[in-house]
Amino acid sequence: MRSNNEKPTCGKIFLNTLALSSFTIGGGYVMIPLLRERFVVKLGWIDENELTELTAIGQSSPGAMILNVSVLLGYRLLGFRGAVSALIGTALPAIVLLAATFYFYDLIRDNRYVSAAFRGMNAGVAAVIADMVIGMAAPYIKKEQALHAFIMVGAFAAAFFLKFNVALVIVSCGFVGVIIGAVHDRRKKA
């Protein structure tokens, strides 16, 4: 599918993030599969592994995760200009559409069809995120990846059951990664 030889420009980064960000209802995590679909599969501007690395870095920084990931992606594609284009593209729908709904709030809040549509879309978002998690988790379900699978399950349990702060969980995951790497090296040498 990576036949696209289009080069990234500020305008394209802005328009693509703007379009994707307009569909990130239900929290924003759905932006990750959207970015993957557009930038990895369709445009071929970045590979899957790199996007996952940027997601990890974005997750461990303060602020809204999807803004961070968009900014990092912008930097990766076109430096500072790309980062600013991605930031504005990602933020604009959130600001403008909220300002718009602000005026129609009373109309919207009590409308059965609007809430039915959003309930349906939320179901779609839930399925899309589940689909992505299955795809991302699969490579870790192997014997040689047991320790990393443990990190995955541990991070889930710490955030879901124990309600630990997400930033704390992510920093711990990084530490465990470094320790696993160091122990692995020592075993190799021995």
């Binding site: 990890a56 809204a64 961070n68 300002a99 602000f102 990393h148 955030a159």
Partner: protein, 189 residues
């Protein structure tokens, strides 16, 4: 000056917003409801409803809502950009570090640990959306589950795994199914 107050408050929220999403809400409520009295508690819960039906991160939605309420549309932009500035600077710094040291062994090891961790955290977020959709924020019991939504999620997941339709098309189709259900429901009763 109201703008300066807005900027200072949301810069502070941006700096402290570690963990993103719902982790930011207590901070926003403290700044906007308790400290500055920009919102009442009722308005704060309205804000949560609104951010559910508007795209984008909840923190940006909140900043826009508060800015809008206090100083109109310019306020919405000022508060949102104030919130985004500190994370933008920190992320820029991290990117420089990543570019320079990204291939160094300990950094690769750390990223190797972060990546499965992120998968776990995305699973938590996804499960949050599932619970919100099937139980609508109420108590999570078998009896109070919205069976239609639960079946819809599973059916869509099956379709996604099997035929890999586009993400946006999928979400829009689900919205249409939701409306259709609301239209048909009275006829079945």
């Amino acid at each position: 000056m109201i703008y300066i107050k807005l900027i200072l408050s949301f810069l502070l929220i941006g700096v402290c917003a570690f963990g993103g999403g719902y982790a930011v809400l207590p901070l926003i409520s403290q700044q906007c409801v308790e400290t500055n009295h920009w919102l009442t508690m009722t308005e704060f819960s309205d804000l949560l409803t609104l951010s559910q039906i508007t795209p984008g991160p909840i923190a940006i939605n909140s900043a826009s809502f508060v800015g809008m309420k206090v100083a109109g549309i310019p306020g919405a932009f000022v508060a949102s950009f104030a919130f985004m500035l500190p994370p933008f600077l920190i992320v820029s710094l991290l990117y420089v570090v990543y570019r320079r040291y990204g291939q160094v062994k300990p950094v690769q090891d750390a990223l190797g640990g972060l990546k499965p961790g992120v998968v776990g955290l995305i699973a938590v977020a996804g499960l949050g959306v599932v619970i919100d959709t099937v139980w609508g924020g109420g108590a999570v019991t078998l009896a109070s589950a919205d069976v239609f939504s639960a079946v819809l999620i599973l059916a869509v997941l099956f379709v996604l795994r099997k035929w890999k339709p586009g993400v946006i098309v999928t979400i829009l189709a689900c919205g249409a199914i939701g409306v259709l259900r609301e239209l048909i429901a009275p006829l079945l009763r």
